[in-house]
């Protein structure tokens, strides 16, 4: 028995060695750097909480936080709305839509394209003078002058939100679909016999039973969304143009570290981001489960 235990440790050792070296050590090293004025070459000095003090009053970081939440929020609302709507259509007992397998993969396809290709594609579609979108709108006579989508803060942010929705709704759809197919048919039949219409079925049967699934999607999407970085970097000039509207938290971190060489401050930004993610996730988690616990207590 004892011998077997030893083998077990030997088996998990490689993972732990790699994990400690490449994950845990950098995390603590970053924490250390966040208290220094490290600029990329040795000889840093400890500066205490100076970086964190600066972070709290840094308008660019606050701007980045607001932008990130805005872009993610719009994207998430659309993404989950679309996924639910599609799941509803495909799971409807009366509609009996065909081709679920096909659509599942079809909707998921955008997620397989590398982000740089996506940025290039939309860069060309949204181009001010020669973009397909403006060409189409001009031809249809909807606009008389081309719109410079990526040079107005509002349309630039909206563009990023919509691109993200396009990329991720298929992913959410698959997960929601899995959740829906996990709900026993008995519920629907019972509701049907009780004379519930579609909307009631959705709100009283499907949604409550999907709660854990939706929570999972929301948390993962939130963590991913707070780390939004590649699209804003590639779509405009890499520093958040137009007028800082595409400056997201991780983009800001990246620029502080690798463009301006303020590694110490960037490490503090990273920890700020970590705390924000932690708080948000906790709030979402609590918000979703408080009602249930209250209901259980009341029962």
């Amino acid at each position: 028995m004892k011998k077997l235990d030893r083998y077990g440790y030997a088996f998990i050792a490689p993972f732990w060695v790699v994990f400690l070296t490449f994950s845990i050590y950098p995390v603590f090293l970053t924490l250390y750097y966040s208290f220094t004025n490290y600029t990329g070459s040795p000889g840093e000095e400890i500066v205490g909480f100076a970086n964190y003090a600066r972070l709290l009053t840094d308008t660019y970081f606050i701007e980045a936080f607001v932008n990130t939440i805005k872009i993610w929020g719009v994207n998430f609302a659309l993404q989950i709305g679309l996924a639910l709507l599609l799941a509803l259509l495909f799971s409807d007992l009366r509609l009996k839509l065909k081709g679920l397998a096909f659509f599942r993969s079809f909707f998921y396809l955008p997620n397989l394209i590398t982000i740089s290709s996506v940025a290039l594609l939309f860069g060309i579609l949204l181009d001010w003078q020669h973009g397909s979108l403006n060409m189409m709108l001009l031809k249809l006579g909807i606009i008389s002058d081309p719109i410079n989508w990526l040079s107005q803060p509002v349309t630039a942010q909206l563009s990023v939100s919509l691109i993200l929705t396009w990329m991720w709704f298929g992913h959410s759809f698959i997960i929601v679909m899995a959740g829906v197919s996990g709900i026993s048919k008995d519920f629907f039949e019972a509701a049907h016999i009780d004379g519930a219409n579609r909307w009631q079925m959705f709100t009283f049967v499907t949604l409550p039973l999907l709660k854990p699934i939706l929570l999972y999607i929301m948390i993962t999407s939130l963590i991913g969304g707070l780390q939004l970085f590649d699209l804003p970097l590639l779509l405009t000039d890499g520093i958040g143009a137009p007028d800082g509207s595409l400056n997201t938290m991780v983009l800001y971190l990246y620029n502080q570290a690798f463009k301006y060489n303020n590694y110490g401050y960037a490490a503090a930004v990273a920890y700020g981001l970590f705390l924000i993610t932690l708080v948000f996730s906790a709030v979402v988690f609590k918000g979703m489960f408080r009602k249930e616990r209250a209901a259980q207590k009341g029962a």
Partner: protein
């Protein structure tokens, strides 16, 4: 026993799998832990050095291992190696964007010292190029074989039609001041052509006649009168419709080199041709010749209002290298070897910074693409006029930030004061150590 063996083997296999996933592919067939003395390691961000390396290997019988890292990752990949000395190269190149930072970081060997004594050959180089390789104490850390001054490339046929001549000297005289540039732009517009692809084209002339460093020796941000005036020039180009609204490196920017392009302004769509592109030496070989095949021979290059340079690659010896002698031999081949550099220049058209060679070859150069013009001589003349000593480690990022602010003003989203204030705020945020008024 057998169980033990099997489990050990599986652990081994697993570790290899896990660790293998973490190793990165460096794009070379490295000889791994070969003995230190017979392989010279060179790091760069382009494949430019392949030819000199071949020559070096043939001459010295030393094996050279070239590692190419894409420019986007180059500083981040190289820095850790240089800091720790683990897997560090013997020779590595630096690009203008981070050159100033690196010469002061002490990664490169001091070439002003014995046994190199490069100061003795200082006069053989274009002044600004030699100067850029110096650290803050004036010691040379890196040398360059090339000079990358810029000019204005224009289409001869349009020049003939609109200006009555396609002679580079005459057109250069017309464009020797900003006002002159705008006069030419107005004439182009009257005939339905556009002077530049976009207003960013003139950013190289934003320094004006009295260039100053972005950050002076007192660590203060310097925003010269000329740089502020550049904002108005850029806006005027946009407002007076002198540009084709094709931002640098965009598909339409490339298209404008060889074809008429469509411009939509003020509710109408017109088809127009772009007259000129502001590009440096390498713009001819790596941009124009690739993208303007249909208009080959119809181009010429001349000066703008002020001389400027754009880019450049320097190289030096790693101070922790174990084969400094061999490493410096390679640097010498690339930057001082007359025979090799003559072949190199004639093969690639690269404009060299090493005068003993350029003096010999500059007179009988001509480029078919430029209608037989001797662009070599033109560029060398421009290079000599460039003010040395005003490049700082902040330039690349400050130029980007300033460009973004200028664009806000050009597009009418901010007033000039707001744009300047925003730039100063951004500069302070990026570099807290700089004093910004």
């Amino acid at each position: 026993m057998r169980k033990k063996l099997v489990s050990l083997l599986s652990i081994g296999a697993l570790s290899v799998g896990v660790l293998g996933a973490c190793s990165n592919d460096e794009g070379t067939s490295g000889s791994g832990s070969g003995s230190k003395d017979d392989v010279l390691k060179v790091w760069s961000f382009t494949d430019e050095l392949k030819e000199p390396i071949k020559t070096y290997e043939e001459r010295n019988g030393v094996k050279v291992e070239l590692t190419i890292v894409p420019i986007a990752d180059y500083p981040t990949k190289l820095k850790p190696a240089l800091e720790s000395g683990v897997g560090a190269p013997d020779v590595f190149t630096g690009e203008i964007a981070f050159l100033k930072q690196w010469v002061d970081a002490g990664y490169w060997e001091n070439l002003s010292d014995e046994p190199y004594n490069v100061n003795e050959i200082a006069d053989d180089y274009i002044p600004y190029v030699f100067d850029l390789g110096k650290d803050s104490e004036g010691n040379v850390r890196a040398l360059s074989w090339q000079t990358t001054p810029g000019g204005v490339y224009y289409k001869r046929s349009l020049a003939k039609e609109v200006l009555g001549t396609d002679d580079p000297t005459e057109i250069g005289n017309m464009m020797s001041s900003m006002d002159g540039v705008f006069e030419v732009a107005e004439k182009m517009k009257e005939k339905g052509y556009k002077m530049f692809p976009d207003e960013g084209a003139i950013r190289w002339f934003s320094q004006g006649a009295n260039p100053e460093a972005w950050v002076n020796e007192n660590n203060e941000l310097v925003l010269t009168e000329d740089k502020i005036n550049y904002m108005d020039y850029a806006k005027e180009l946009r407002d007076k419709q002198y540009t084709a609204l094709a931002p640098e490196w965009s598909p339409s920017w490339f298209e404008g080199m060889s074809k008429p392009i469509k411009v939509k302004e003020g509710g109408t769509e017109t088809e127009t041709q772009v007259f000129s592109y502001v590009l440096p030496t390498w713009g001819l070989h790596s941009v124009l010749k690739d993208s303007a095949k249909d208009t080959a021979g119809d181009w010429a290059v001349t000066n703008g209002p002020s001389p400027y340079f754009w880019g450049g690659t320097w190289l030096g010896v790693y101070e922790g290298s174990k084969n400094k002698e061999a490493a410096y031999d390679f640097v010498k081949l690339m930057t001082q070897d007359e025979e090799f550099l003559t072949d190199w220049a004639e093969e690639t058209g690269d404009v060299l910074a090493f005068k003993p060679v350029t003096d010999k070859i500059k007179d009988d150069f001509s480029d078919e693409f430029l209608g037989g013009q001797n662009n070599y001589e033109f560029f060398l003349g421009q290079a000599d006029e460039i003010t040395p000593g005003i490049v700082t480690k902040y330039d690349q990022q400050l130029d980007t930030l300033y460009g973004a602010s200028v664009l806000q003003y050009v597009e009418g989203k901010k007033t000039k004061e707001e744009a300047v204030a925003e730039f100063k705020k951004q500069a302070k945020n990026a570099y807290p150590d700089i004093k910004v008024d």
